[in-house]
């Protein structure tokens, strides 16, 4: 029977000839990840099941949601997770990047099944793996057993064709899709991105697309691995699966990306998407460039192009948080970080930054922040009356320069 990429990976990992949407399977897990916010509850659940992780090299702990600890409460949670890391001799313990970026740089290979106690674990599917977010107890269970149950999801196909206009990026494409599909339009389903636009995209841009599958309710984002994927992986190989031509999809979206303008998502929900012209001229207080959505080198590069030799507007604070140490070093070597600091940016250590509102740039009452992140929920970044507007790195950088929301195409 014809199968989708997601069905094939889940069949392989559960040692079955095939896995069909709707089936329940128990799959072997390649990697299980938890971060400083979700690991403590995962460890509590794990400890009730057993006292030894299934494989010390396949459990990954990352401190990225509040590192270095900004409060005693945060430090106490770190202490708890560190104790677990030491006791279990966990080899993959990191404090130098966003968990999803570290997973794609160091671990995930095509064909893997990867689970993380973070909803944006759908990001890693851009490497041709089945990757999904779970809660802490589920991850505690995987740490104990190395296995996880899944209901095999139906798939949605997003066929993206053509090329974007100048000043329009993968972030604009995925915001536009989320606006059309809505916050629950992909509920429980696999979001498979395909088409010549995806094939021509960098791995970084593919990660941006898959990152926001969860904002439509999707279970996983996934892109068939190709030569670009293998080049990105360096030495890692994995197993490449492809969707059959006549595989069954719940729905297929045909999207010509050339029609897409720079987009913004206005508060309080991610599917409240409008062209940037809808809010052009709106004054901002903070601009944030970073996160698992858009904290990669190409994102920092476009921001630098816009900001080099200029100064961020006086009413704006610009925060730049590279998604990993590898990206930080690459941006440093290219001189981008110096250019950004000279333009007035605060460049922070690689973490989630202020995206979750716990450290690194929280918002006061009534403030407006334009951000390259993926969520604009009420109260997420600080005071509940603050507004979060989502956009591409270029729109963030150009708006920081202007002091108000602008169309980045006038600044490139």
């Amino acid at each position: 029977m014809a199968s989708t990429l997601t069905e094939k990976i889940l069949a392989n990992a559960s040692h079955q000839k095939e896995a069909v949407a709707g089936d329940f399977v128990v799959a072997d897990v390649s990697y299980a990840m938890a971060h400083d916010s979700t690991a403590p509850l995962a460890i509590e659940s794990f400890s009730k099941i057993t006292d030894k992780v299934f494989d010390k090299d396949r459990v990954i702990i990352v401190f990225d949601h509040f590192f270095p600890a900004p409060t005693v409460a945060g430090a106490t949670l770190h202490q708890k997770s560190r104790k677990f890391v030491m006791e279990q001799n966990i080899s993959g313990f990191f404090t130098n990047g966003v968990c999803h970026q570290l997973l794609v740089e160091n671990f995930v290979s095509p064909g893997d099944v990867v689970v993380g106690a973070d909803s944006h674990t759908c990001t890693e599917g851009a490497l041709g793996a089945f990757t999904t977010g779970l809660g802490s107890t589920d991850i505690g269970g995987v740490m104990a057993t190395g296995k996880c149950w899944f209901r095999v999801p139906e798939s949605l196909k997003f066929n993206l064709t053509g090329s974007t206009k100048k000043g329009v990026y993968a972030k604009d494409v995925i915001l536009s899709i989320v606006g059309d599909v809505r916050a629950d339009g992909a509920l429980y389903r696999a979001c498979e991105f395909t088409g010549d636009y995806v094939k021509d995209s960098t791995v970084a841009s593919r990660l941006t697309l898959c990152n926001m599958a969860i904002e439509m309710g999707g279970k996983n984002g996934i892109i068939e691995a190709d030569q670009k994927t293998l080049d990105f992986l360096g030495g890692r190989t994995g197993k490449i699966f492809k969707s059959d031509k006549d595989a069954a999809y719940n729905d297929e979206y045909e999207i010509e990306v050339e029609d897409i303008e720079p987009q913004v998502a206005l508060p309080p929900v991610v599917d409240n998407v409008k062209p940037v012209s809808a809010v052009e001229g709106k004054q901002i207080d903070q601009a944030f460039l970073g996160t698992c959505t858009n904290g990669r080198l190409e994102d920092i590069e476009v921001a630098t192009k816009i900001l080099k030799g200029k100064k961020v507007a006086r009413n704006v604070r610009l925060i730049v948080t590279p998604a990993s140490q590898e990206i930080y070093f690459a941006a440093l070597a290219k001189g981008y970080l110096q250019d950004l600091v000279e333009a007035g940016a605060a460049v922070c250590n690689p973490t989630c930054g202020p995206c979750v509102g716990r450290h690194g740039g929280v918002l006061a009452a009534g403030e407006v922040c334009i951000s390259s992140q993926n969520r604009n929920f009420t109260g997420r970044m600080g005071d509940p009356s603050a507004e979060i507007i989502l956009a591409s790195p270029a729109t963030v950088a150009a708006s920081a320069l202007a002091g108000k929301i602008v169309d980045p195409r006038d600044y490139l």
């Binding site: 659940s45 949670l77 977010g133 107890t137 629950d184 509102g357 929280v362 969520r375 009420t378 109260g379």
Partner: protein, 161 residues
């Protein structure tokens, strides 16, 4: 038990804002449920009350703090038209009963509701109506019957599924 009614797309940041979830203390989490979105909830919720909601309840983050907070606040069940999937798994895993019903929005805020947890029958006593719910898939019902994922894995686990 009284119903607390919510709309569509109620996300984990409004259930448990990230700034308040730097803890694993269940009692504390119970105190912060909807702290900014609906401050009267924490003050007036009574043990056994229920939540009714529209589509995609619990969307957003994977944080288990959200269902833990709702359960610790005293909520005995959540009835919604649909749930976000991570929230759904988390609730089953920690033993917070969830019911999916197309008719969830027939129940209004403040209605007195009775649930038979064995049969899944939900009666809105204020309106004199009975709400139909979708049964859980067998696989998930096994986890619920054990009392959550930890208990499930401590007993037969995946050996007998």
């Amino acid at each position: 038990m009284k119903a607390w009614k919510f709309g569509d797309d109620i996300n984990t940041d409004v259930i448990t804002p990230g700034r308040y979830t730097v803890t694993t203390d269940k009692k504390r989490l119970g105190e912060i449920a909807f702290i900014e979105y609906r401050p009267e909830f924490g003050k007036n919720v009574k043990e056994g009350d229920i939540i009714v909601a529209g589509n995609n309840f619990g969307c957003g983050s994977s944080r288990e703090h959200s269902p833990v907070a709702i359960k610790a606040a005293g909520i005995s069940a959540v009835i919604a038209k649909s749930f976000a999937r991570i929230f759904f798994r988390n609730s089953i895993n920690i033993g917070l009963p969830l019911f999916v019903s197309e008719d969830a929005d027939k129940i209004d805020d403040g209605d007195i509701v009775e649930i038979d947890f064995k049969t899944g029958e939900i009666r809105d006593k204020s309106k004199g109506i009975t709400i139909k719910v979708k049964p859980l898939p067998d696989f998930m019902q096994k986890i619920v019957d054990k009392g959550g994922l930890v208990e499930f894995l401590r007993s037969d686990g995946y050996d007998n599924v």
